[in-house]
Symmetry: D3
Subunit: 148 residues, 6 copies
Amino acid sequence: MKKFSHLDTTGAATMVDVGAKPPQLRRAVATGELRCAPATIRLLKKQALPKGDVLACARLAGIMAAKKTADLIPLCHPLALDKVSVDFTIKADRILITAEARLTGKTGVEMEALTAVSVAALTLYDMMKAVDKQMVIGEVRVSLKEKK
Amino acid sequence: MKKFSHLDTTGAATMVDVGAKPPQLRRAVATGELRCAPATIRLLKKQALPKGDVLACARLAGIMAAKKTADLIPLCHPLALDKVSVDFTIKADRILITAEARLTGKTGVEMEALTAVSVAALTLYDMMKAVDKQMVIGEVRVSLKEKK
Amino acid sequence: MKKFSHLDTTGAATMVDVGAKPPQLRRAVATGELRCAPATIRLLKKQALPKGDVLACARLAGIMAAKKTADLIPLCHPLALDKVSVDFTIKADRILITAEARLTGKTGVEMEALTAVSVAALTLYDMMKAVDKQMVIGEVRVSLKEKK
Amino acid sequence: MKKFSHLDTTGAATMVDVGAKPPQLRRAVATGELRCAPATIRLLKKQALPKGDVLACARLAGIMAAKKTADLIPLCHPLALDKVSVDFTIKADRILITAEARLTGKTGVEMEALTAVSVAALTLYDMMKAVDKQMVIGEVRVSLKEKK
Amino acid sequence: MKKFSHLDTTGAATMVDVGAKPPQLRRAVATGELRCAPATIRLLKKQALPKGDVLACARLAGIMAAKKTADLIPLCHPLALDKVSVDFTIKADRILITAEARLTGKTGVEMEALTAVSVAALTLYDMMKAVDKQMVIGEVRVSLKEKK
Amino acid sequence: MKKFSHLDTTGAATMVDVGAKPPQLRRAVATGELRCAPATIRLLKKQALPKGDVLACARLAGIMAAKKTADLIPLCHPLALDKVSVDFTIKADRILITAEARLTGKTGVEMEALTAVSVAALTLYDMMKAVDKQMVIGEVRVSLKEKK
């Protein structure tokens, strides 16, 4: 039967032991979105994009959060990430967020990519909440996970 | 015209000055969900609930993350929160997450509640990803914001 | 019947709501000790005390840890401490540690004082472990807690 | 003569250079205890154990603290831990705490295990202090340290 | 005779007790500069300014660092800052950095402003070091400190 | 043409991918200074040096900050440093600061050395500002960077 990897035989929470795993090149991509009013998107394009600071802010917050994943998610391993990047696509009624994490190491990095997307979305929310009270963060998921 | 509160007149990112605001009792509630396979929910009920550690883990991670909001979201103010709580409702194909933050202070606490929901969801994802690769975090939004 | 303050009515972990408490001057003192071989104490006096760095290191680590209490103890409130101090008394076979924390705020600071003692003890342990493998940290307790 | 490893030839604090050490599988176990009134233990079994949140909370706090060891202890190296686990044994008048840390790396992990025990003990203290003001954290020591 | 405020009567490091101080509106401005080759400045204007990300990155890093001052400077008090801002002026052979911190509280905020300038300068250095190995951070000082 | 390594082809901020780089022994030394009044230096020698705590404090703050570099500088990689050290030379009107960082890894450590110097300087500033309001941090630069 399938088992939750972070519970030991007594059901208590534990970190998975990755000591016997070989280091491999690992990569994960996660995506998500912040849904908002079309008027908010128009304002973003007009006020914020010329200078770039709203997206730059959210991008950096996502990258920095990926580096804090093991500090936020109790049973995640601390990882020496090779690279993190965050990108945005602006649609008429939402901002799509994509984050990629790379590691040469023993464990997958989808939590790092998901954390980058989530915190980038929260930062967009924070910077745009003065003009839109109805935004929703959604569709946060892993779109690619690979190792070689 | 509406304006982004975190951009100054040149469009550069800045923290809003809350120095002139009076301290008030503030409260915010945020909600969200982790959608997963019904089989995952059945496993959660069977393996993890007797001990409570999956939900207990996500609850604590959410509470601790709320206290780190100003460390994660670049332009958020550091706040001395009065209280944070996180709760879960288990449905057939998803886990609903609710977080509440309270403050006696100068600025709203919806970002703290949203951060608690997001990190609780990420922690559930982390603890259940060994048995379900298709989970999605969604519908993260503010459901109540008040001050008095 | 007495109740655990950090469990809600369903038994789930929660932060105590301090919103209705008045800010008061609060003070707590905690003590503890690191027991070690007399030879270790003699070496400490000989090698390290002239420069002061072993004790200075442990003192600072304790002070800095007190400021991180809410980051370490899941249900502690973030506090704007007025003062933290850490002191040592060197005995023949142990180092006594005393820490004091002060706050103008809504909640007691004994956890901050206890955290300062514990991390000061761990730091002494770390700096002396090359010469003594049998050290024990003990008797960590609150010796005073008051408010006015 | 034995020397303190964290003091350089002038007596100043320094991190030990581990650059020339080979990575090895390292493991350390530390133990400690929280002494309390028998009535507190009875209450713990009655109120908190059904839900598990007091112990689950302390377990997670210990695991998360182990990952922060280099942030707490000034001269510890940042380490990519393979695994951390924390367990409890409930006695009539105390809770015994055991923590294990594992690493594939260049330096021992006893400080990580000791930190996990100490912060788990502090968290138990925090969650039980409303019903017992006389608790004592003690006997925190390394019980096993090995590499291969 | 003048005294170092962070040393107690025995010369040991300690936090100043601010418990008896009244909360006041406090403001501090610090300045500094990153000196670099004129060719680096030309490249900055050409490659980076259209998108804004080099300066946006340094601005955010400075703001976020100000919020971490008490975590970086051992004897600083944790503060609930009202506002932090960071600005840049680009000269032919240097980038001037100005940071302002505001607080309603018991202690001055010049360390927060200085920390913001320093970390903004370090971030500029990091992002420009691929094209210029001779940069120097200098003239970091407090230019204004006031309370009312 | 030379390029900023932390901007991608669209000009957005990104971490450099170090996945393909071989781990090497890397070392960097950075230097800087805190300029102050000669009277301040005399006071430092008289009041603070016997106990060592001003310099010990700044040394530890610098070492600890080096370990936080990836948390402070948005696009820096998290690194498992082999060693960090910080030293001081006291001149008539300034304190010279030197920091060294060592790593077996994929990326240079000059940012870690620069961060150690900067935070050591800020800590000296903090501890001496009660007696000297005119201090200046300057000449922070990399003096050596090598790998083998």
